[in-house]
């Protein structure tokens, strides 16, 4: 006879909430999670202790498992106090420093999502972004990631401040903000200090794959305005992010951009049409606008200029300089990705869309 404890009992609302949460954290089935998101249930005044315990358990295990799976497991090199540190994420930093802390807003958000139909019910859930912890924002990122295939729902979520001002969301899905050209790129400060930086380290492969996907699908965009806006937003994100990582002494966190360039420019003779070949029709009447669209389409390649500057600065760093170890590390990264070759290839592609090529 088995001595297994009896299954824990929760209310229907709590059960739905847990299914939704597990859907976001990936192990739960998508159909169940999505079905419960589109249901409307009366929100209870509070949750039972059992439900809270299960939510805590799911968040703790689910978020850590997600980060470990997407990239935390990789033996990689990142900066710690200005010096490179090698190993898996939990080997690079003591485990007690890797703690994720969720605020009351995480549970409040899950309760709102379970009680409402997010696409229809107004006002949407909101919270002061300044009070959200990196772990809360990671949960919101996972929520958005799971729901963004529904364009209307994704747009509704983006209209709420905790999503629209979530820098991780901007970094992973810049093209989703392409229609919101006047929106301000949020500050990346939270993600450049611990524990946010640990999350960003683990998510490097996610960011690399997302940006690679964006670059590889640009050639299928037929609308000039769409390609222009997408490039503009990407450019603003790159500008804000590279500026922030440089100021924080964490250039290593921009490595995914280096990797994207390396993969996109793997072939020595990439034509600019790889990015702009899908454009339909003659485009805007003014040459200036057509050139701007084509330049914006190649905005990721322009980041090579920034990295070249970093490389020059790194070469100039002397043994007695504070940033010597970090500079050597960056030079190592450049060598690893054969940056000089990539930068030359990027330059050649960029030149192709310049109507006034003067050398």
């Amino acid at each position: 006879m088995s001595d297994a404890p009896p299954p824990k009992s929760v209310s229907r609302f709590e059960a739905n909430l847990l299914r939704i949460l597990r859907f976001f954290l990936k192990p739960g089935p998508a159909d169940q999670g999505l079905r419960h998101i589109h249901e409307r249930l009366e929100r209870p005044k509070c949750l039972s202790a059992t439900a809270v315990e299960l939510i805590r358990d799911s968040l703790a295990k689910g978020c850590v498992l997600y980060l470990a799976r997407v990239g935390g497991w990789k033996r990689d090199r990142f900066l710690r106090d200005g010096k490179p540190n090698f190993g898996r994420l939990w080997e690079r930093s003591p485990v007690e420093k890797l703690t994720l802390t969720f605020s009351k807003y995480a549970v409040d958000f899950l309760m709102w999502l379970t009680a409402h139909r997010p696409k229809e019910d107004r006002p949407t859930w909101t919270a002061d972004i300044g009070e959200l912890t990196p772990a809360d924002q990671l949960l919101l990122f996972l929520t958005y990631d799971a729901l963004r295939s529904d364009a209307d729902l994704a747009a509704t979520l983006r209209s709420s401040s905790p999503f629209g001002d979530n820098a991780l969301l901007w970094l992973a899905h810049p093209n989703d903000f392409a229609g919101e050209v006047h929106a301000r790129v949020p500050t990346f400060g939270m993600w450049l200090t611990e524990p946010g930086s640990f999350i960003l380290e683990a998510m490097q492969p996610v960011l690399e794959n997302r940006w690679l996907e964006i670059e590889r699908t640009k050639g299928q965009i037929g609308d000039w305005a769409q390609l222009n806006q997408q490039g503009m937003i990407q450019g603003r994100v790159i500008e804000a992010f590279t500026h922030a990582v440089n100021a924080a002494g964490r250039r290593d966190l921009a490595r995914f951009l280096l990797a994207v360039m390396s993969r996109v420019l793997a072939s020595p003779d990439m034509p600019a049409t790889f990015w702009t070949g899908g454009l339909q029709g003659a485009g805007p009447p003014r040459l200036a606008e057509r050139v701007e669209t084509q330049r914006n389409a190649l905005v990721v390649l322009r980041a090579a200029d920034r990295f070249r500057t970093w490389e020059r600065e790194a070469r100039a760093s002397g043994y007695l300089d504070d940033d010597y170890a970090a500079s050597k590390f960056w030079l190592g990264e450049c060598e690893r990705f054969d940056f000089n070759t990539i930068a030359d290839r990027a330059q050649r592609v960029l030149q192709q869309v310049e109507p006034l090529r003067i050398n």
Partner: protein, 189 residues
């Protein structure tokens, strides 16, 4: 028995149309000498090609095409501008049951509105045509400007190399092959 009146409305409009197009780029000037000296050499080359200096930039305007070069930063802009005054006229005709009463006024107002809308559409077409002309002119001159600026940059590079060589030692021999674009300087140090 009622009688129909033919009502005729004339509208005319004079519009000042303007269209422009512009392409910007950066000149890649090798830093053989310090930046200010390279800028000075570039300015000299451009002045010899008809550019005039204004607010630190070198400008040349010809047939509605303005080429502007900032010798310090290497920023280049080529801009075409076109302006045109168009006189547009139209006449609309309709029918009314009186020639001075409220019904006639109503018909006149309608015809006037129609005429104004047509003039607006025609003005927009003229604007599109002018914009097309400005863009076409820009596309035509780009090749020429590109070649001219490339020549200027090459001349600056040659001159800078000669000056640099003179700083290194005594120049013994200089041979240039404009066809191949090569320059050989022998220096005794």
């Amino acid at each position: 028995m009622s009688r129909a009146y033919r009502i005729r409305v004339k509208e005319a409009v004079t519009k000042e149309l303007s269209a422009s197009d512009e392409v910007c780029a950066d000149l890649e000037v090798l830093e053989i000498l310090p930046g200010d000296q390279m800028a000075g050499l570039l300015a000299g080359q451009l002045k010899a090609r008809g550019f005039t200096e204004r607010d630190g930039k070198l400008l040349r305007s010809q047939d509605g095409v303005t080429v502007s070069v900032d010798p310090a930063t290497g920023e280049v802009s080529v801009k075409t501008e076109k302006q045109e005054q168009v006189d547009l006229k139209t006449e609309k005709e309709g029918w009314g049951y009186d020639d001075i009463g409220p019904q006639a006024q109503h018909v006149r107002k309608q015809l006037s509105e129609q005429a104004k809308q047509e003039l607006e559409r025609r003005a927009e077409k003229q604007q599109e045509r002018l914009q097309g002309e400005a863009t076409e002119q820009l596309e035509k001159v780009l090749g020429h400007v590109r070649k001219e600026l490339s020549d200027a940059v090459n001349a600056v590079t040659r001159e800078a190399l000669k000056q640099k060589a003179a700083q290194l030692g005594q120049i013994k021999e200089i041979s240039e092959d404009p066809e191949a674009g090569s320059l050989t300087i022998k220096v005794e140090v």
